[in-house]
Amino acid sequence: MSEAQPVLRLEGIVKTFPGVRALDGVDFSVFPGEVHALMGENGAGKSTLMKVLAGMYQPNEGRIMIDRKPVVMRNPIEAKQNGIILIHQELSLAEQMTVAENVFLGELPRTRWGFVDWKVLEERVGSILAKLNCDFGPRTNVGSLSIAKKQMVEIARALTHHAKVVVFDEPTASLTDAEKVVLFDIINDLKSDGVSIVYISHRMEEIFTISDRITVLRDGSYRGTLVAADTTEDEVTQLMIGRSLDYSRNIEQGEIGDITLEVDGLSCGRLYSDVSFAVRAGEVVGFYGLVGAGRTEIAETLFGLREPTSGTIRLDGEAVSIGSPADAIANGISLVPESRKEQGLVLGMNCRDNITLPQVDDMTAGPFVSNGAEIAIYDMYRDRLDIKAPSWRSEVGNLSGGNQQKIVIGKWLAMKPRVLIVDEPTRGIDVGSKAEIHNLIRELAHSGYAVIVISSEMPEILRVSDRVIAMYQGRIMREFTADEVNEDNLVQAISGVGNGKAA
């Protein structure tokens, strides 16, 4: 492979934003038919580099060569014409339109009369969806799909073109295992057609499964390229964060106290039914299940965002009725929501204001918000969570995806709740910070919080939970203690087979 000429070469790319040098002379090259992983901490500059490549940003310095010819791509259209397709980290879909229209957005097939050729469109999209093993049709409205399925729609776009280079920016952050398998098949197919793939992910096991070479960025600069077959996770981690990870630093289970939160026979329409469980102070309960199992909906009910059709919620033994998130917060319940952009952040606000938003009422000096108190909180969580932002004044919308997620987590930790619910807390977070967040969750439990962790990542659930509750189609199937639980029985429980008690 090394004797071949790179299909794509980026040389000395520099990209600055006001107050940030996001890329600082990065070199990057891709050979035909290789899968090239791009790794780095949150905010290292991966997405920015790819946006430069896709014509969305113009580099301040450096040049891009395709097939050894320098090219200037002023916009995504020109990038596409040069054979470069980018599957975005943040979904970029027209929600009110159909799957078919989204897949061929910008290049819908026409009939002789200039009308949209719906027949051809649906046929082509239908076959792509079949290839991707999708269970929805071309006419489905994108807005009605779950995040994972929307991600599949994004991926479908990559297959409409005969591209030279396809860039996947964290495609698996919200995919299930089944869909992941499909994705990897697709990537292998593309590869065997001679298409080059750039693959961004924070998940080591994926990287080593599919990539040929790995390039690491750190703080906007190039750190080196490794051949996947000749390296180890540890080596990559070293290059990324400058140290090895110590996975064993799992904080011991603290003293388990009284029941803090108790849910009895809770149902909510068709979303879930007859859910009962309890969480004690000092305990982490993990909720595991397939996407759509109804875990998020339970969390939303506890947080006052849904009205249960029946059942009771008790806090410290007293029945409470929670009509709104404001009530929930008053009762000491916090929720780190699933979708950071829609639910977690006010993107146009700065970092500090986002972190203090739920408790801004308590941070006053006289009638005014106290600047000092707010900055103190921000500084504390910036350090704890290693948030990379130019300053507290930076708009959250300008942070990298992972750093945005850290702000959301910081915001709810800062509330010091009695019951903390975290829904997919580490989506898009780099390995270093992920371990740190896991430790934080354990620590919080240790200091007496009742914590619920919802996650679709089995390793995460297994690492942080004292007990695991497995859900399937809106019902609790089984409860495991930390000692009982293992990958096999968990997988069995969430797929509806076996001796689940509610089956």
Binding site: L305, P325, V346, G348, M349, L357, V369
Partner: protein
């Protein structure tokens, strides 16, 4: 404020200008007119312009808050007609004090109707306030029977009601003082209190605001109360200044008010904007009208210049924010 001082100390004037394109536009504009007419920068003229902008300005304060929270209020014009007709009409009947009280209550009730329909029932603010524009106009006409109302001429020079529109403190006209006092008050609330923070959050991302424990309904409701309150104050000044009112005095004000809010750089998408900038927007609009009048241009020249200035000023503002002149849209 702290940020401002800090940036000045850092000598980061360029970024200061970049963030406040609208101030630059304002200064450039004042200089241009100052050169064009020797009367323009006289105290009398400045006072006259600010005085006549005060009513639009006061209404713009409330509308700014509504817009920051992500909604619109097009009913302010007819609400102004309503408030003025009512306060003037009641003045002779029940005395100025009770008249002001009754009028304020009625105007706040109208604001509450807006706030209820938009905040709690969640109806589209443009259509609701457009409907209210029409309905309040009708109410005003029904109330007055379509007639002009006047304060009894024999009491016009003696009633204390005259203070609001015709009074002076230390040589400065009362409408100006009320405008700036209210602007500072509202400006501080919106910029530095938890309430203000909630308004920005609701405008910036309503879903995330609710997820943060903010009672969005109440916040939206409250913005319309603030807006109605401002209209009430403007009505008092207008009634007192003219000592009479017509049923259509506020007609067309809704768009002028909105124009000055936007001119100040408040985004219609919600979540951004500031009272200080709105005040600048109001003054720019006021000075355009006045400046051209002084230069002797016909009234329709004002409209054409307003067209150009609105676009240039807002362009400067957004260009400064994104750091390049032209938009990156292909």
């Amino acid at each position: 404020m702290a940020g401002f001082v800090e940036r000045m100390r850092n000598g980061d004037i360029k970024s200061l200008i970049a963030r406040n394109g609208i101030f630059v536009a304002f200064v450039a504009f004042m200089i241009a007119f100052g050169i064009g007419s020797d009367r323009f920068l006289t105290f009398d003229n400045l006072e006259s312009v600010v005085r006549s902008s005060a009513m639009i300005g006061i209404m713009a304060l409330g509308v700014t808050i509504v817009v920051i929270s992500g909604n619109l209020d097009l009913s302010v014009g007819s609400m102004l007609s309503f408030g003025t007709v009512m306060v003037v009409n009641l003045h002779d009947k029940i005395g100025p004090g009770p008249a002001i009280l009754v009028m304020m209550i009625c105007v706040l009730l109208l604001g509450a109707v807006n706030g209820f329909l938009i905040g709690f029932v969640r109806l589209n603010s443009l259509i609701v306030t457009l409907g209210m524009l029409s309905a309040i106009q009708g109410l005003t006409l029904i109330y007055s029977g379509g007639k002009n109302v006047d304060v009894n001429p024999s009491t016009q020079d003696t009633t204390w009601f005259r203070v609001f529109g015709r009074g002076e403190v230390a040589g400065i006209d009362m409408p100006i003082i009320i405008f700036f006092a209210l602007a500072s008050f509202v400006g501080f609330i919106i910029a530095f209190t938890p309430y203000g923070r909630r308004v920005y959050a609701v405008g910036g991302n309503p879903t995330a605001a609710v997820f943060s424990g903010i009672r969005r309904n109440r916040v939206v409701f409250s913005t319309y109360i603030v807006s109605a309150f401002c209209v009430g104050i403007a009505s008092i000044i207008l009634g007192s200044r003219v000592m009479g009112s017509q049923n259509n005095v506020g007609q067309g004000y809704e768009l002028l008010v909105l124009a000055s809010v936007i001119l100040g750089g408040t985004s219609l998408l919600g979540g951004s904007g500031s009272i200080l900038k709105t005040v600048i927007g109001v003054l720019i609009l006021g000075f355009i009208q006045n400046g051209l009048l002084l230069l002797g241009y016909p009234y329709f020249a004002q409209w054409i210049v307003t067209w150009i200035v609105i676009i240039l000023a807002v362009w400067l503002d957004v260009a400064a924010k994104r750091g390049r002149l032209l938009s990156p849209i292909a």
